[in-house]
């Protein structure tokens, strides 16, 4: 564990001794801050005169401000995240330091957990920025602190899932830019598919009658699974409910499983050197 910590620490030191780290954190802070200021102002305007904005009574803060804002922060990570994860393993390869990493007495788990830990460390810095915004909400409104804390946890879980996917992609390539682009593409495609999935009809429209009743049922069943996958698989879908403070075990389990799954694949990717090389 000490070795993993050493790897993690080195990664964080490198991240924050180069301008890269400050550019990434600064950009995130600027955009998240703008997003927060805009939606908070908008929400205040609505509470002053709900009728004018087309609302009956004052809308719920969780639904109208916190959830969309947290989702926005999560989606922002879709753009910033690849810049964090793309370097993790790909850069070790391109700089040749992979040769050091793999000849020091490190186990694969030290490398994977060290790198993932570093990514989470950077995420925590980004979360601190979001935390400040949520603290402002907490101070000036009567929303329950638990809801805000759970919102932050949601964002963290979502980010961890993002990072695990990015780390996995980074483990397969030598070029950091390739890793970044592929990671972004995977996240963005899943996002688009999720949006598109919501407009899919609940059942397939016209199953030809001559296929028979059972075939029709089978097609309907498969369709159901397909639709469910398209709707449930994208990374931001589950956060939507969670960010409103609705605790559902399956949402939390989704992010944890997603993370574990891609960390597992990262192990396999590192191990592949034994049978590929």
């Amino acid at each position: 564990m000490r070795s993993a910590w050493a790897v993690c620490k080195r990664e964080l030191v490198s991240f924050f001794t180069t301008p890269v780290g400050y550019v990434i954190v600064g950009t995130y802070a600027a955009i998240a801050g703008l997003g927060f200021a805009a939606s908070f102002t908008e929400f205040c305007a609505i509470t002053v005169n709900p009728a004018e904005k087309g609302y009956e009574g004052i809308p719920k803060l969780e639904e109208l401000l916190i959830s969309p804002y947290l989702l926005f922060c999560g989606q922002l990570l879709m753009f910033i995240g690849p810049l964090i994860t793309m370097r993790l393993l790909a850069e070790e390869r391109s700089r040749g330091t992979m040769e050091l990493l793999l000849t020091y007495p490190l186990r694969d788990r030290d490398i994977v957990f060290g790198k993932f830990g570093a990514a989470l460390g950077i995420v925590l810095v980004l979360m601190a920025i979001v935390g400040v915004h949520l603290a402002v909400v907490g101070v000036y409104t009567d929303v329950e602190p638990a809801v805000l804390a759970f919102g932050l946890l949601t964002l963290f879980l979502m980010s961890a899932a993002f990072m695990s996917l990015g780390l996995f992609v980074s483990a397969w390539t030598r070029n950091a830019v390739t890793a970044g682009v592929v990671t972004f593409a995977l996240w963005f495609i899943s996002y688009i598919v999720g949006t598109f999935g919501q407009s899919l009809p609940g059942a397939p429209a016209n199953i030809p009658a001559q296929l028979g009743v059972n075939a029709g049922r089978a097609i309907g069943f498969m369709w159901g699974i397909f639709r469910q996958l398209v709707v449930e698989l994208p990374l931001d879908r589950h956060a939507e409910r969670m960010a409103q403070g609705i605790v559902q075990p399956q949402d939390i389990a989704y992010y944890l499983l997603f993370t574990v799954f891609f960390l597992f694949l990262t192990f396999r990717a590192l191990e592949s050197r034994r049978w590929r090389a």
Partner: protein, 309 residues
């Protein structure tokens, strides 16, 4: 300390290393020679656990490289060829990281880093950014990170490449001083360096060993070689030279040149002069020949190349 038997590494259709077998005893400094692409770096990468062998067995410090990789890595200090390092880090921070990863006890981290830096002459560079180091200092950094944790086995891939003459002498001295407690396997292109530093040499070409022996034996061992130049009938000269007591072989090189070998220390000059003074032949020159490592290397590689064609 290092035992290799039947080591083979195949990359797709290219055989980088083929059926390599050798042993390195504790405290030895072994020179690993070979032309570019002979398989030196591949062998070193296998021994350090960076790439797995296709077949064959290798043991380092008694541990099997594939079954107990961590045990092996704990006992091996490795300096890769181009000295990869994290450019944005400070020298001290990088070495500290290496020490942490190599499980140096927490209390002695700073002392270990200082020890290695002073040993490699990096003391003045402790707070420099690695990216800004000159080639020579970067090379020292590579050696320093290998020495961290005082591993019993050191595998150094071209430790002196790209250094200026003064630095080469310094680094050689560092390596020489490692000898009794450490086992060193080093590769290099600089043949005189091997002669100066190593006790034993392994020459490889096209992935297999073409010669391995001690420096003493490779450069002639206990025989002494004289090149004699004489005018006259060659058969007569050969018989006269062969008749001299102590001469083991006489070789005709043509153009009136002959190689005479005898046990080291025979001091035959006088006898040769006397032998060739009689009759119809004139001695025109005697020269003591030393077989250099260069001769051995070129001969070994050339004969292997010839065998391949």
């Amino acid at each position: 300390m290092i035992e290799v038997s039947g080591l083979t590494k195949v990359y797709g259709t290219i055989t980088a290393v083929q059926d390599l077998s050798f042993r390195v005893a504790k405290g030895e400094i072994i020179g690993f020679l070979g032309p570019n692409g002979a398989g030196k770096s591949t062998t070193m990468r296998i021994l350090t656990g960076f790439t797995p062998p296709t077949s064959g067995v290798a043991k380092v410090a008694g541990f099997h490289i594939e079954d107990q990789p961590i045990e092996v890595k704990r006992r091996v200090g490795y300096m890769p060829e181009n000295v990869p390092a994290y450019g944005e880090m400070l020298v001290r921070a990088f070495l500290r990281y290496a020490a942490e990863v190599k499980c140096v006890a927490r209390g002695s981290l700073a002392a270990e880093v200082d020890r290695v830096m002073s040993r490699c002459g990096l003391g003045d560079m402790a707070n420099r950014v690695i990216r800004n180091l000159s080639k020579g200092y970067r090379q020292r950094l590579g050696l320093a990170q290998a020495l961290i944790g005082n591993p019993p086995v050191l595998i150094l891939d071209e430790p002196t490449s790209g250094l200026d003459p003064k630095q080469i002498v310094e680094i050689r001295q560092v390596i020489k001083e490692l000898a009794p407690e450490h086992t060193v396997l080093l590769s290099t292109h600089i043949l005189p360096e091997v002669a100066m530093v190593c006790e034993r040499v392994i020459i490889i070409n096209r992935g297999h060993i073409v010669a391995q022996d001690t420096m003493h034996n490779l450069t002639g061992g206990d025989t002494e070689l004289l090149e004699v130049e004489a005018r006259g009938v060659s058969d007569a000269i050969v018989s006269k030279l062969s008749a001299i007591p102590g001469v083991t072989t006489v070789e005709t090189l043509g153009n009136g040149r002959y190689h005479v070998s005898a046990p080291r220390g025979s001091n035959l000059n006088e006898a040769i002069i006397a032998a060739l003074a009689q009759g119809d032949c004139g001695l025109t020159g005697i020269q003591r020949k030393r077989r250099t490592l260069e001769d051995v290397f070129i001969a070994a590689v050339a004969s292997d190349q010839g065998a391949a064609e």
